[in-house]
């Protein structure tokens, strides 16, 4: 007869929640979660009761009411009779515009400065060090204000372009640099201009096709085709030829001084320029440091190996070092993009109508709906920041080291 005794089944007893290390941490986590929920419920309830006691009802009706004010820079139709919601959208588009422009230029600036900071040329590397240290150690608001102040002080007002004794003149007869903004000629689309545009798009595709072909040829046969001038030729020549074939259908609307301001052409407002430059140079300094860190993270052996294979320094940087450095650069770059977007809310300092200035500024002031406006603002910035993170994370996943 065999005696088989089962090992004692550990039956669960309540006391094990405290005494057994396997369960103890769950107990405490559950308690902490409960306390947190109760605390937030209490705070929320408190907020609501006190708001209603103070007679402050949360309502979003004001969004449909006419805004009543005008906005100087708008990407969509808007006038003072449009609703507050539309004013907010105008602001959102302005925020996105300046954030996009600043992200692009800050990246370009940052990469150049970061690479040059590692240059063996003493002067260049020290100049870049000075740029980085000066710009990232002074608050961005001060940069925005100082750049704007310099701009309005140095550039001439439209008045100075007037009359025979004009002290300022237009560059090339068609670009006006004033302290209210830069006026550039706008294209006027005549009949047949569609053909030119189509040709232009086709040649754009052509450039990519050519470069792809050249790359494949290089990989398969080792023959290196010239890249630079054929790309340029494909880019420009067909469009220019088509332009003349169609009888020059695209004209230019050159800005002209009429009354108080320049009329015609495209105006790039002074506040936009100041904000764009300030955000770019400020964040560019941070990105430069990210880039430098990324490059230094690539072991020196890679450079030396590439050099031993006979690659020239430019190609070593572009083909060997930067692709590997990107893995290190991208994650901090994401937070710099988020910073640019959030810092663009300082726009009101120079009178740029971003969403903080329209919805969180004038609309908030005129309607007095502080809580509603601020909640909407928070939601907007949260959404936009999470979207940027999401997109950049997809990109990050595509460039990060693939481990198999």
């Amino acid at each position: 007869m065999t005696t088989m005794t089962d090992p004692p089944r550990a039956s669960f007893r309540l006391s094990m929640l405290l005494n057994d290390t396997r369960y103890r941490s769950y107990t405490f986590q559950a308690i902490a979660l409960l306390v947190l929920i109760v605390a937030f419920a209490y705070l929320g309830n408190n907020l609501l009761t006190n708001l209603s006691a103070a007679g402050l009802n949360i309502a979003y009706d004001f969004l449909d009411a006419p805004a009543g004010y005008d906005i100087n820079q708008r990407l969509i139709e808007y006038d003072s009779q449009s609703s507050n919601a539309r004013a907010a959208i105008v602001g959102i588009l302005n925020t996105l515009l300046v954030a996009f422009l600043a992200c692009v230029t800050a990246t370009v600036l940052g990469v150049i400065a970061g690479v040059l900071r590692l240059s063996k040329n003493w002067l260049v590397s020290k100049l870049m060090a000075v740029y980085v240290e000066i710009f990232r150690n002074i608050p961005v608001l001060i940069w925005i204000v100082i750049i704007f102040t310099i701009m309005i002080a140095v550039l001439p007002g439209p008045r100075e372009f007037r009359g025979d004794g004009a002290t300022a003149s237009m560059v090339l007869g068609s670009f006006a640099f004033t302290n209210r903004g830069i006026y550039i000629p706008a294209p006027v689309w005549g009949p047949g201009s569609m053909m030119v545009v189509i040709t232009f798009i086709a040649s754009l595709i052509g450039v990519f096709a050519y470069r792809r072909y050249a790359k494949n040829l290089l990989y398969s046969t080792g023959r290196l085709l010239p890249m630079g001038w054929p790309s340029l030729a494909i880019f420009f020549v067909p469009s220019i030829v088509m332009f003349f074939i169609m009888g020059q259908p695209i004209g230019l609307d050159i800005p002209e001084l009429k009354g108080f301001n320049f009329k015609g052409g495209i105006k790039i407002g002074g506040p936009l320029i100041a904000l764009w430059i300030a955000l770019s140079v400020y964040t560019g300094a941070f990105i430069a440091e990210n880039v430098r860190a990324g490059i230094q993270a690539v072991s020196k052996g890679q450079t030396e190996a590439a050099g031993a294979l006979g690659l020239r320094p430019g190609r070593i940087m572009n083909l060997v070092v930067l692709p590997q450095a990107l893995r290190v650069i991208i994650p901090p770059l994401i937070s710099q993009y988020l910073n640019i977007t959030k810092n663009s809310s300082l726009a009101i300092a120079v009178g740029y109508a971003d969403v903080t200035a329209t919805l969180g500024g004038i609309t908030l002031n005129q309607t007095g709906r502080a809580i509603e406006c601020v909640v909407l603002l928070m939601l907007f910035y949260l959404t936009i920041s999470l979207s940027i993170s999401f997109i950049m994370n997809i990109y990050n996943n595509s460039v990060k080291l693939k481990e198999r």
Binding site: Y42, L43, G44, N46, L47, N50, A53, A54, G55, L56, G68, Y69, D70, I71, N72, D79, S80, Q81, T149, I152, A153, P156, G157, P158, R159, E160, N179, R180, K258, G259, F260, N261, K263, G270, P271, I348, A349, G351, A353, A357, G361, I362, L364, N365, Q366, T367, G368, A370, I371, V374, V375, M378
Partner: protein, 338 residues
Amino acid sequence: MKKSVIFGALTVAGLAAGAAAAGTLDDVKARGTMNCGVTTGLAGFAAPDANGVWEGFDVSVCRAVAAAVLGDATAVEFVPTTGKTRFTALASGEIDMLARNTTWTFSRDVDLKFTFVGVNYYDGQGFMVPSELGVSSAKELDGATVCIQTGTTTELNLADFFRANNISYEPVPIETNAEAQQQYLAGACDVYTTDASGLAATRATFEDPTAHVLLPEIISKEPLGPLVRHGDNEWGDVVRWTLNALITAEELGVTSANLAEMSGGSANPEINRLLGTEGSLGEMLGLDAEWAKRAIAAGGNYGEVFEKNIGENTPIALSRGLNAQWTDGGLLYSPPFR
């Protein structure tokens, strides 16, 4: 407990809208100082002098209230507020009263839940342009770039004016008066618009004030006055009747010079009631009998305050106009002290 929790919760939301504390009058007395919201600096209305002492037309109202309540015209903490922060500062209880050329409007009174206790300056929105432009009317401003101080009723008036006259303009919203001034002087805008009194005050600080003209059009009604929170009527009464005391004092000829003589008793019973030698008006207000006397002693009656800070002999050079006593054809008309 409940109150501190809601303040915490609101701070988390980035806001400072709080519940109105009951009994501001008692709070102020207990604290020994009054917190008064003023502008961040507008010559003649509220600006610190070379020694850092705040002075100006709006400041005088704060000082008169402090003198009436606390017996000391200097027991005022001045809190500079911008057009944007002023209402939250008042609603949250950070300041006890706001005297910051704030226009009395329906929505501010009703929707934002404030009590305007009176009008200390009848103003209107005007335009300032450099004289070299040769503009003589606001209707000639088609296409002009206009600097506006943001967070005010000015933006709405401006939009309405240009729409009504069917002319175009380009608005440049500016946060503070100082920045607007800088942009205007640099020629980044052709026109600067805000309340006419503010324009006069700003122009007075220019290097060459004569190179700038105020256009004749006044495009809005801007009754500016001190305000307090809704729901605290005792405190509202104190501020309202302090302002009325200054106005009535001018009407009755009580000045800081003859105050001592007048308070010895006079033939006019209203003067006696005002200065506390007759009746018990101060007691009804929760103050002592000499409250109005101290308020007047702080900076003189309304007329004296006006002349000293923004009158014709000051750089601001504003004439009394609408702000004359009703007996002189103006709009100042205090209810009787009775």
